[in-house]
C-alpha cells in the first residue's frame, strides 16, 4: 500500500533528449525498509533451512559457521525479532499512507489484474500483439507482496508456537507444536523457492530493476512496466499529496491511534520473545550416580619385571633359531606348544619345530607358504598370536632357509 509517488521531471526542457526523465518510485524510508526486510529474510532463510536440513553436509557447514545449532537458533531469533519490528513499522506506515496521505490502495488485487494476466499469457504464447496495460503495480508484484504478507503471518504464528511451546499448549492441543514446525518449514521452502524463481526473474534477470535501491525509475522503464501509471502521471490524473492543512488535521487523529497501535503491537513483539524465557532446563541430571566401588588406599600397581635380553653365544647369528626365534616361540607359543605339545606340535626344539604336529610341518625351510606355523598365524585370531612385525621376521627367517645357528 506504499504509494508516495511524486514526479520529478529533472529536466523540464523536453528538447534535451539525451537526459532521461526519471521518476521517484520508492522514497528513502521504503528503501531502508526493504533492505532491513531482505537482510532479516536472508538470515532467517539461511539459519532456518540449516536447521531443517541439519543432517545434510551443507546444513552442517552452515551450523558450524554459526558455532553451534544454538548459535544458528540465536541468529534466527534475532532476525525474526527484526522482521517482526519491521512488520509493525510497515503496518503503521501503511495506515499513515492510507489515512493521512490518502494514497490509492494500489496493492489490492482487482479484476483488471486477471485481465492483464490473461493478456500477458496470450502475448507470450504469440496469440496477441500487446501485453497488459499495467498501473503502478502489476499482478506479479501484487502477488509477491501478498505472498510476503501471508508468509509473514504464517511464519509469525507458527514461529510463536515453536518459540513458546509451553504457553501455546496451555491453550491449544499439543499436536499444534509439531504441526507448526511442519508448516514453518514447508512455508520457508515455498517462500525461498518463490523468491528464487519469481522475484529473481522479474526484478533481476528480465531487467535489472534498481529502483528499490536507487529509488528512481526511468521513463523508458515506466513505459515498459507501468504504462497506465505513466499515462496517469503525464495527464495529471495521478494521485497528488493533500494540502498541508489537511495533513495536519488528519495527523491529529492519526498520531494517537498510531501510538496506541504501535504500543500494542510492540508489546506483542516483546511478549513474543519474552513470554517463555526457558523451555527446557539446561542441566539434565546425569544418568548414573550409583557409587560402584569403594575406593581403597592407593598402592602402586605391580609392574612385571622386564625379561633380560640374553647375550648371544659365539657363532650364533641374530636371525637364527638360537639367536631369536627359539625364545620368541617359547614366549608366545610355549604354554601350549612346549612339552605339552597341543596338537602334537612342540616348538621347544629346532628338530621338533621342523617335524611339526598333526597339521603338518610347522616350519619348511625356504617355503613359508608350506609352513603350517605361517599359515595358522597369517589367518590371525590364534591364541598367542604373533604381531605382524614378528610374523614378518619369521617369514624372512624361513625364506632365508630357517638357519638354526
Amino acid at each position: 500500500m506504499d504509494d508516495t509517488l511524486s514526479m520529478e521531471t529533472q529536466q523540464p526542457q523536453s528538447e534535451v533528449v539525451s537526459q532521461p526523465v526519471t521518476f521517484t518510485r520508492f522514497d528513502l524510508s521504503q528503501r531502508i525498509e526493504h533492505l532491513v526486510f531482505l537482510t532479516a529474510f536472508s538470515l532467517l532463510a539461511i539459519t532456518g533451512l540449516a536447521q531443517k536440513y541439519a543432517e545434510t553436509s551443507l546444513g552442517l557447514v552452515v551450523l558450524q559457521f554459526f558455532g553451534s545449532i544454538q548459535g544458528a537458533r540465536t541468529v534466527h531469533h534475532i532476525a525474526a525479532f527484526i522482521m517482526m519490528w519491521s512488520s509493525v513499522y510497515h503496518v503503521v506506515s501503511v495506515m499513515y499512507r492510507i489515512y493521512v496521505l490518502r494514497t490509492p490502495w494500489s496493492m489490492m488485487p482487482v479484476v483488471d489484474d486477471f485481465k492483464h494476466l490473461v493478456q500477458d499469457l496470450r502475448y507470450y504464447l504469440g496469440l496477441s500483439k500487446h501485453r497488459g496495460y499495467y498501473g503502478r503495480y502489476n499482478y506479479a508484484e501484487k502477488m509477491e507482496y501478498l505472498a510476503v504478507v501471508w508468509g509473514t503471518i504464517i511464519m509469525g504464528l507458527t514461529g510463536f508456537m515453536m518459540w513458546n511451546p509451553i504457553t501455546t499448549t496451555q491453550y491449544l492441543p499439543g499436536e499444534v507444536i509439531p504441526a507448526a514446525k511442519a508448516a514453518h518449514g514447508a512455508e520457508a521452502v515455498l517462500a525461498v523457492l518463490a523468491i528464487i524463481i519469481w522475484h529473481m526473474y522479474h526484478v533481476h534477470i528480465k531487467r535489472f530493476n534498481k529502483s528499490m535501491f536507487t529509488g528512481q525509475i526511468t521513463r523508458e522503464e515506466m513505459e515498459e512496466e507501468h504504462p497506465a501509471e505513466l499515462k496517469q502521471i503525464e495527464s495529471g490524473a495521478a494521485w497528488q499529496p493533500p494540502s498541508q492543512d489537511e495533513i495536519r488535521k488528519r495527523q491529529r487523529i492519526f498520531i494517537p491511534v498510531a501510538v496506541v497501535v504501535t504500543i500494542v503491537l510492540s508489546l506483542g513483539v516483546i511478549g513474543f520473545v519474552t513470554v517463555e524465557p526457558q523451555t527446557a532446563i539446561t542441566t539434565i541430571p546425569k544418568g548414573e550416580t550409583v557409587a560402584v566401588f569403594v575406593p581403597v588406599t592407593p598402592t602402586p600397581r605391580p609392574t612385571p619385571l622386564p625379561t633380560p635380553t640374553p647375550e648371544l653365544a659365539a657363532g650364533v647369528g641374530a636371525d637364527t633359531w638360537e639367536g631369536s626365534f627359539s625364545a620368541l616361540f617359547q614366549n608366545r607359543c610355549g604354554s601350549c606348544h612346549g612339552r605339552t605339545a597341543v596338537g602334537g606340535l612342540n616348538l621347544g626344539t629346532y628338530e621338533n619345530a621342523l617335524k611339526g604336529g598333526a597339521s603338518g610341518p610347522a616350519i619348511v625351510p625356504g617355503d613359508p607358504d608350506a609352513s603350517v606355523l605361517v599359515q595358522i598365524q597369517s589367518a590371525g585370531g590364534h591364541p598367542g598370536q604373533l604381531t605382524i612385525d614378528e610374523l614378518e621376521q619369521v617369514i624372512a627367517w624361513i625364506l632365508a632357509g630357517a638357519p638354526e645357528r
Partner: protein, 372 residues
C-alpha cells in the same frame, strides 16, 4: 592319555577286547613316571599333590591368609586344563619345589601380578582392557577395579556366556544396584526367564573388554545409534510387535535433530536434548504398557517435566511419539502436510511455467528481430 594313540589303536583292531584293556593298562603304568619327571607342562598332578590339600594356606606380609587349595574339579571343568594348558602356563616363575620367594604383599597385589599371564595367549583382549574404564579406575588408584580373573575366574575359567545370563550376573558382582534394575527390566526379564538371544546383556551395549565410560558426551549422543542396532532391525522387532521406525522418526524430532548435529559436529560437547535413555530409562527399561514405565501414558507428563518443568497436560501430545503422521492420530499435522504438499508444487510449477514462457517468448522475439 593323549599319547597312547596309534599303538593302542593298532593293537585294538587286531587283538581282542581283553588284550586291548591289558595293553592300555601296561601303557598307562609305563607312561606315568615319565610324566612326573617331565615337569615343564604336565604339572597338574604334580602340583595338586600338595595344592589338592584343602587346608593348605599361607600368610602374606599384609597379614591376609590365602588358601592355596586348588580344586581338581575346577581345573577339570575349566577351558584350559583339558586343552593341556596347565599350572606352569600361568605360574611361569614356579618351576619346582621349593618355590621362589613371593614378591607381593597383599592378596590383591598377588591377583594383579598373576593376571598379567593372560596376555601371553590373549594379547588382543588384554590390550583392549588397557583401554577400558576399569583400567582407568585402576590407574586412578582403585586396585579393586577388575582384572581378567575377576570376571573370568582364575583356575575355573569357563565360557563366559554359557548361559548368556551369566554375563549380567558377572557384572552384577560389583554393579549390584544396576543389575537389580536390569533384571526387572524388559530386557533382563526376558533374559532370565527365557534365555532370549534377542535381548541385550551388559556387554552388548557397553562392549566387552574395552568398556568405556557411559557418562561421557560422546556416549550420550551415540545412544540412539546404540539402541537402533536392535530397534531399527525390522525383522527382530516384528517378533515382538514393535515398530522398527522408532529411530528414523526420532531423528526427525526436535531432540533427534539436535542430537544428530552434535554427534556429527560436536560429539564431545555435552548436550541436553533427550536421547532414548532419558525417557525410557537406562537399565530399568520397561514395556510402554507397564504401569511402572517412564513412558507409560500415565507417567509421560512427569517424564517430560524432568526437563521441561511447568508444562501442562496438553504438552505430551506435542511429542507425536514414535508414530508416523496419521489423519486419525495427528490430524493437524496430517492436514498441514497435505496442504503444503499440494500448495508448494502448484505455486512453484505455475511460477516456473510462467517464467519459462516469458524466457521462451523473449528468445523467439530476439531471433525474429535478428532475421532480415
Amino acid at each position: 592319555m593323549r599319547k597312547i594313540k596309534l599303538p593302542a589303536l593298532a593293537a585294538g583292531l587286531i587283538a581282542s577286547a581283553l588284550a586291548l584293556s591289558w595293553a592300555l593298562l601296561v601303557l598307562i603304568v609305563s607312561v606315568r613316571p615319565a610324566q612326573a619327571d617331565g615337569l615343564a607342562q604336565e604339572t597338574e598332578k604334580y602340583c595338586l599333590s600338595c595344592h589338592g590339600n584343602p587346608d593348605l594356606k599361607m600368610t602374606l606380609p599384609s597379614g591376609e591368609q590365602v588358601s592355596l587349595y586348588i580344586s581338581a574339579e575346577d581345573l577339570q571343568h575349566s577351558v584350559h586344563s583339558p586343552a593341556g594348558i596347565e599350572c606352569e602356563a600361568c605360574h611361569t616363575e614356579i618351576k619346582t619345589y621349593p618355590h621362589p620367594p613371593i614378591t607381593y604383599t597383599t592378596r590383591r597385589e598377588m591377583a594383579r601380578t598373576y593376571y598379567l599371564a593372560c596376555q601371553k595367549c590373549h594379547s588382543s583382549n588384554y590390550a583392549k582392557t588397557q583401554d577400558s574404564m576399569h583400567a582407568q579406575a585402576a590407574a586412578a588408584g582403585n586396585l579393586d577395579a577388575p582384572v581378567c580373573t575377576d570376571c573370568h575366574g582364575a583356575h575355573n575359567v569357563r565360557p563366559p556366556d554359557e548361559p548368556r545370563a551369566l554375563i549380567s550376573t558377572t557384572c552384577g558382582k560389583c554393579h549390584t544396584q544396576i543389575n537389580q534394575d536390569y533384571v526387572q527390566s524388559v530386557h533382563g526379564g526376558d533374559l532370565l526367564t527365557q534365555d532370549n538371544p534377542d535381548v541385550p546383556v551388559c556387554t552388548d551395549c557397553h562392549g566387552v573388554h574395552n568398556i568405556q565410560d557411559p557418562r561421557t558426551a560422546q556416549f550420550r549422543v551415540e545412544t540412539p545409534d546404540l539402541c537402533a542396532r536392535c530397534h531399527a532391525d525390522a525383522e527382530r522387532m516384528s517378533k515382538y510387535g514393535l515398530s522398527a521406525d522408532v529411530y528414523g522418526l526420532y531423528n526427525l524430532s526436535w531432540h533427534g535433530v539436535d542430537v544428530a548435529v552434535y554427534k556429527a559436529k560436536w560429539p564431545t560437547i555435552w548436550h541436553e536434548s533427550a536421547v532414548c535413555t532419558d525417557c525410557h530409562g537406562i537399565h530399568n527399561i520397561r514395556r510402554t504398557s507397564d504401569p511402572a514405565s517412564k513412558v507409560n501414558p500415565a507417567n509421560l507428563l512427569s517424564t517430560c517435566q524432568e526437563c521441561h518443568p511447568g508444562v501442562g497436560a496438553n504438552w505430551t501430545a506435542a511429542w507425536i511419539g514414535h508414530n508416523r503422521i496419521d489423519p486419525q492420530r495427528t490430524p493437524f499435522l496430517y492436514y498441514t502436510e497435505v496442504f503444503y504438499r499440494s500448495l508448494t508444487p502448484i505455486v512453484l510449477w505455475a511460477s516456473i511455467l510462467y517464467v519459462a514462457l516469458q524466457i521462451l517468448h523473449a528468445a523467439v522475439e530476439r531471433v525474429r528481430r535478428s532475421l532480415p
